[in-house]
Symmetry: C2
Subunit: 309 residues, 2 copies
């Protein structure tokens, strides 16, 4: 079997184009565009890159896009003040605090400060609870929303299927498990303490991997014909290893040679390709979907808050 | 193998005795006793029985125990007013709204109205999110807390064990899964849509059953040596069936004949007894633990709110 590729870049592009059209329609019919504020404290390069991508995508979709960058020595109180200002701002529909915040901040206090009706990331514990309890009108975090959209695109009926989520983070693993359960899958969460991981993951008709360990999921972890979603993005400059893994994939090698670095997924892509029915590449799988989902969530919140939907 | 019995009545009694001592100490050292308000709307007999049990147990442990019974035609606004009064009341540490509330009420609105610091049932979505995200200082619902205490009493190390929760209710299944995950078990949630349930549940080293279907879990559902926790309490007057199931258990039959009715668990007790390493009886397993856990939760909330713990 050779797996089909879940092309996140293409699917995300389609979604973002549709969102652009929706934003134009909202403007024409209702006189507003969705507003998204991304707040960052300090200048962690990786965070800055993500924030820039989010800002750019929001702009491109026609949103009102605000980026607020607090200095690295900003206090928790200053961040909370900024969140409260955005909570009150009539033009802002979604507020995202880029994580991680500085270690000395109380992350839970900060996430709890984001107004529920503007909690575009779904990280306020109230939003987490609404998702977990399968209540209406929840907002799920962007990455899990993107994962679910990819799974949907395979056409697989999730009802009653064995879904295994490897990794139990609050950002990916747990909310993805909650969404899979909502689709009536039989859901297993496994993690670093799980005994004999391959025997657990190879039960999966749908396998979502989000652990941040390069190439961990090899052939023996994968059930023949499974849908495999790889959330890991692991930076590498190890040219030799990269070329060994992607020996038969000149496209990947070419990218590496152009940039001087590459990324491994958590899944051994070439091995998965031979065993799965569907697989997400890294990069170009889950990553681009996350941005599209953030925009979708913002539109949803805008419609609820402004149009009472 | 003959399973050992997890005697919830005995264990609950021990816990409640300890709580009684703790309450006496709180009174002597700090001049207060924990206060618990149970609010019920209407007079559904089953709810009334539960409310009475809770009230009685709280009284017996030395709590300030209030029962507020709103008339069956009380409005949602009246219930919310009462919750707000209890939120403000300085002597009350825990507030429990007996479910179900009348159909026309917005249950989520009501559960969200209970102040987080007094949410003794852990059903406010914010509390649900705190548990789901494994944050500190969460309050888990009483039944799952009781279940976890029973599992702990077996001495089993939950880390890396396969735990399967059958049933995905917000009151039992999902919060139990969250607590098992916190203990580093590999956790599967299965349910009515799961294909080939016995093949899933028989993977479990720890099996928690909460579906409300009498005798559903027979021998083939159970792994040899598993810890089996039966949350189901299914009323029956079917004397013939009861006597057939409990043929070798004169104690059960005697109780039936005394009362004219009996209870089946979701688990076929005689079959489980031959296969599991530990099993909870019904009644006398999880049920009594729920009351003890409610009291524990109230003490925890009282210590936090009054002593800043």
């Amino acid at each position: 079997m050779t797996a089909q590729i879940l092309d996140g870049t293409r699917i995300s592009g389609e979604i973002r184009e549709k969102i652009g059209e929706e934003v134009a329609a909202l403007k024409a019919e209702h006189g507003f565009v969705p507003g998204l504020t991304v707040i960052q404290v300090g200048e962690v390069p990786e965070s800055s890159a993500y924030v820039k991508m989010k800002e750019k995508a929001a702009n491109k979709a026609g949103f009102l896009s605000r980026k607020i960058n607090l200095p690295v020595d900003a206090s928790e109180a200053e961040l909370l003040d900024e969140i409260h200002r955005q909570n009150e701002h009539p033009d802002i529909d979604g507020i995202l605090v880029q994580l991680p915040v500085p270690d000395e901040f109380d992350e839970n206090k900060i996430l709890s400060a984001v107004a529920i009706e503007k909690d575009v990331d779904g990280f306020n514990p109230y939003s987490v609870g609404m998702l977990s309890a399968s209540k209406d009108r929840f907002i799920a975090p962007a990455t899990p929303v993107g994962i679910m959209e990819l799974i949907r695109r395979t056409g697989i009926d999730m009802k009653g299927k064995e879904a295994v989520v490897l990794g139990r983070s609050n950002i990916v693993g747990k909310p993805t498990a909650a969404l899979l359960l909502k689709e009536h899958a039989t859901v297993t969460i496994c993690h670093s303490r799980t005994k004999d991981l391959p025997s657990v993951t190879s039960r999966a008709d749908i396998l979502v991997v989000a652990v941040g360990r390069e190439l961990m999921v090899t052939s023996e972890y994968i059930k023949e014909g499974a849908v495999v979603i790889d959330v890991g993005v692991n930076y590498t400059e190890d040219e030799k290893k990269f070329k060994e893994v992607y020996l038969d994939f000149p496209d990947f090698i070419e990218k590496l040679e152009k940039k001087g670095y590459g990324y491994f997924g958590d899944v051994h892509y070439p091995q998965a390709l031979k065993k799965a029915s569907w697989i997400t590449p890294v990069p170009g799988g889950v990553g681009p979907m996350t941005i599209a989902s953030l925009l979708m969530n913002t539109v949803t919140l805008a419609r609820r808050r402004r149009l009472g939907e």
